[in-house]
């Protein structure tokens, strides 16, 4: 059974039209992450939530926002998508303090910008 669920799996939007991607988890993990992965590149961390505390990476554009209304859900909002924002967006979760520190990834949401 999927433990980290991302929706939608595929999203097509127009240049400048806002997009929201969602992530839900059944693991009761307290840390949730959003990664951006462009074609043929490594995943790049955009931001993460440690419980309710939001942690933004220094180089994450202002165009990207996130919300975590409760433990189970996290959203990625792209306010005005540009062609350069086309990518796979990966949500991941972990439990802080766990020995392995392992991240559990969702299936990803692939964003196309026309």
């Amino acid at each position: 059974d999927a433990m980290v669920i991302q929706n939608p799996r595929y999203q097509v939007t127009q240049f400048g039209k806002p997009v929201t991607l969602s992530c839900s988890q059944t693991l009761n993990h307290n840390v949730m992450y959003w990664y951006q992965q462009k074609s043929s590149q490594a995943p790049k961390l955009l931001f993460h939530y440690y419980d309710k505390d939001f942690n933004n990476e220094a180089d994450t554009p202002d165009n990207f926002q996130s919300r975590r209304p409760n433990t189970s859900f996290c959203f990625l909002d792209i306010r005005s998508p540009g062609l350069g924002d086309a990518a796979m967006y990966l949500c991941a979760t972990s439990r802080a303090g766990e020995v392995t520190g392992e991240l559990f990834f969702g299936e990803g949401s692939r964003l196309t910008v026309l």
């Binding site: 490594a42 995943p43 961390l45 392995t100 520190g101 392992e102 559990f104 299936e107």
Partner: protein, 112 residues
């Protein structure tokens, strides 16, 4: 800031051959992960390495960790076509904000 480097970045090999992918990282860390990614798919966890000298094996893949050398290897034995994928190593940055930092990935192609 933690840097993670893999080599080679591209690897084309024949079925039945052995090869090794290397992962170096720049600062102290106590946890290293290997992932597999198929085209258009998410990351699949392969190995979690938690201590110096750790060795884990699954089928034709074996991963090891040398924390003193800040080096991990992923060894492929008698490669088969199904192992064609991109392989990422990733390291937990433990100084400052704890986060997972990825290597560039190694695109492995195994030819029949």
């Amino acid at each position: 800031e933690l840097k993670v480097e893999q080599n080679p970045l591209f690897l084309s090999m024949q079925e039945g051959k052995n090869y090794t992918i290397y992962c170096n990282y720049s600062t102290t860390s106590d946890r290293l992960y290997w992932y597999r990614q198929d085209p258009g798919k998410s990351l699949e966890s392969l190995f979690v390495l938690l201590s110096n000298g750790a060795v884990k094996q699954e089928g034709r893949l074996m991963a090891s960790l040398d924390t003193k050398a800040r080096l991990s290897t992923l060894h492929i034995t008698a490669a088969v076509h199904d192992l064609s994928a991109t392989y990422f190593c990733a390291v937990i940055q433990i100084q400052g904000a704890q986060k997972l930092v990825f290597g560039q990935g190694t695109r492995l192609t195994i030819n029949p």
